[in-house]
């Protein structure tokens, strides 16, 4: 027996696909618009030197934002990343300052970052404490520990040419941090879009009870995504230490907000269940070029935060109101005709 659904005339399925990708398309359009505006208003913007510099400087933002995409897609949030970066930044500088070999320091710092992230994830996943609370506590504790270690002073890293390559080196003309960010991007895309783990992260974000009933190890998946933000925050802390040749407990203050903005600007839904790595990358790049472009066109640096905030608010407002309503109208029309 066949179930006879009454056939509705359908428009091309491309409309549905367009609606589903509307967020990524709109951020792509907005990114291009920013590029055009800054290219027209500054001679320096569209030079390879400037663009490579933007890539180098935005690499930490991009790497953490990619991991944050997983956290937000799973229905959580990680506010501790700025503090995590500061802690790893400080610990790395202190260890190098005291003569520890750099490969050991890098490996150890990555391990510490991942473990601290997993520890927060354990409280969230297995102890059922909201991620907002756990990582808010983490935000306070981790920077506190960094302050304790450095006593508030900046710790210099001197004469370590091999370590400096991580933040300042080039590889065939491309900044090493940009290469690291690109690798993170590819890994993030493959894991979220193509692998079982990413599918499970999405399922946990949209309907955790359905995921549990389907046999997905919900708590393990939830815990792991905080390990990912911990790991990439550690990488970001190392890159910043290498680029600035110093470590400071005051590094990356307010960084979590830039990261969350990049992710949400990219079209990942803040309540979970839908995430896009391409969107996040475009979101991070947009925030980076806005910061860069405003400096190039000689707008006071104090304006940067105001403009960034305004743009984020309006972009997301456009996204959630205008584009979604357009999508709904299209779908509605295809149904009633």
């Amino acid at each position: 027996m066949t179930i006879a659904y009454s056939d509705r005339p359908r428009f091309s399925p491309n409309i549905d696909r367009l609606a589903r990708n509307a967020h990524v398309l709109s951020i792509a359009g907005f990114f291009l618009l920013c590029c055009v505006v800054f290219t027209l208003s500054s001679d320096v913007f569209l030079t390879s030197g400037n663009l490579l510099n933007v890539l180098r400087q935005s690499a930490p933002l991009m790497m953490v934002a990619i991991a944050m995409t997983f956290v937000i897609t799973s229905g959580g949030i990680d506010l501790s990343i700025g503090s995590m970066i500061a802690l790893i930044n400080a610990v790395t500088a202190i260890a190098l300052h005291n003569g520890a070999p750099w490969p050991l320091v890098v490996g150890g710092a990555l391990m510490i970052g991942a473990s601290l992230g997993l520890a927060q994830g354990w409280f969230i996943a297995f102890q059922k404490i909201p991620s907002f609370i756990v990582t808010l506590a983490g935000l306070s504790i981790l920077r506190g520990v960094a302050l304790l270690f450095t006593e508030g002073f900046s710790v210099p890293i001197s004469n370590n040419a091999s370590f400096a390559v991580i933040g300042r080196g080039d590889f065939f003309g491309v900044p090493v941090p940009a290469l690291l960010a690109m690798m993170t991007m590819i890994a993030g895309y493959v894991i979220l879009d193509r692998m079982k783990f990413g599918r499970h992260v999405t399922a946990v974000g949209v309907n955790p009870e359905a995921a549990r009933r389907a046999g997905i190890p919900v708590r393990l998946v939830t815990m792991s995504v905080y390990g990912m933000t911990g790991l990439t925050s550690a990488a970001a802390g190392i890159i910043i230490a290498s680029r600035l040749s110093s470590g400071s407990s005051n590094a990356a203050v307010g960084f979590e907000l830039d990261v969350i903005a990049a992710v949400v600007l990219g079209g990942t839904v803040l309540v979970g269940g839908r995430g896009t790595i391409i969107g996040t990358v475009l979101g991070a790049l947009t925030i980076a070029i806005i910061g860069n472009g405003l400096i190039l066109v000689h707008i006071s640096a104090f304006f940067t935060q105001i403009v960034t905030g305004t743009i984020i608010l309006s972009a997301i407002w456009l996204n959630s109101k205008v584009f979604s309503q357009m999508a709904v109208r299209y779908r509605g029309r295809s149904k009633t005709l």
């Binding site: 027996m1 066949t2 179930i3 006879a4 659904y5 359908r10 399925p13 549905d16 696909r17 589903r20 493959v190 193509r194 692998m195 079982k196 599918r199 499970h200 999405t202 399922a203 974000g205 949209v206 309907n207 009870e209 359905a210 995921a211 549990r212 009933r213 389907a214 046999g215 997905i216 190890p217 269940g273 839908r274 779908r331």
Partner: protein, 263 residues
């Protein structure tokens, strides 16, 4: 219990033959939620090739009982015996591994994931570590065809489907993976008449394969088309069990509202 009534179907006869060997025996199952005693010691047997209708008023404990069998709840007391072996289901995955599948009343679908992704949720096939999307789409098409469910575009997310289509996906998912026990909690609530017919004929088909089916429904007339036996729940207790041939609509209604056994 008299099962030799004039209206018996082939399935009923099989059920009589298998009477001695239930696939599942639940014994003395209790479950409390805070101060509410949802189940107060329920015994239930399920036989292969038989459909058991589980009925009762709201909050009678039907869903709780079946969720315990599906591993979604852990009982406070009582035992489950599966094929003669005692089993404990700590998580739904344990029950699924034993081929106990359930269509949940809330459907348990992930709205932002496409149709094949929902069909294979939690058991996605992979090739070289990547999701094997082609295989998932192909298998999904085959499974839906087999159940006579027609959805032209499999790349749609579940959120884009109608209520009936969503329910069909949930049913197809439970029925497609060789279940030994198939539990359906209100599977037809969002379906049109033809679609209900398709689900009922699906139940008859899986029964014929030897599957034990539990059907929870408020549409009592459906029970008489597929069920072999009816169990009635009332405030956390199984108050009655009837062979389908021995009962009628009127008696079932009385049992549900509690007139037949509380007076």
């Amino acid at each position: 219990m008299n099962l030799t009534g004039p209206n018996q179907s082939a399935a009923t006869v099989r059920a009589v033959v298998r009477r001695g060997n239930p696939i599942v025996s639940m014994r003395g199952v209790t479950k409390r939620f805070g101060s509410v005693a949802a189940l107060r010691g329920v015994d239930l047997d399920l036989f292969g090739g038989e459909c058991l209708g589980l009925i009762g008023d709201n909050a009678a404990g039907k869903s709780t009982l079946t969720k315990i069998l599906a591993g979604a709840y852990v009982p406070d007391e009582g035992s489950i015996i599966l094929d003669g072996e005692p089993v404990r289901f700590a998580v739904p995955a344990d029950a699924r591994a034993q081929h106990i599948e359930m269509v949940y009343q809330d459907l348990s679908l992930c709205d932002t994931i496409d149709i094949p992704g929902n069909m294979f949720l939690g058991r996605e096939p992979t090739r070289a570590l990547m999701l094997d999307r082609a295989a998932m789409a192909q298998e999904t098409r085959r499974m839906l065809d087999e159940l006579g469910i027609r959805i032209p575009d499999l790349t749609l997310t579940v959120a884009q489907l109608s209520g009936g289509q969503r329910q069909s996906i949930a049913i197809a998912r439970a029925a497609a993976f060789e279940p030994k026990v198939l539990i359906m909690d209100e599977p037809t609530s969002a379906l049109a008449v033809v679609e209900v017919d398709a689900v009922l004929s699906l139940i008859n088909r899986v029964k014929a394969k030897g599957v034990a089916v539990i059907l929870i429904t408020h549409r009592l007339q459906d029970l008489f088309r597929v069920c072999d036996r009816i169990a009635v729940m009332y405030e956390g207790i199984k108050v009655a069990e009837r062979a389908i041939a021995d009962t009628g609509l009127e008696e079932l209604v009385q049992l549900i509202v509690g007139e037949a056994h509380t007076s």
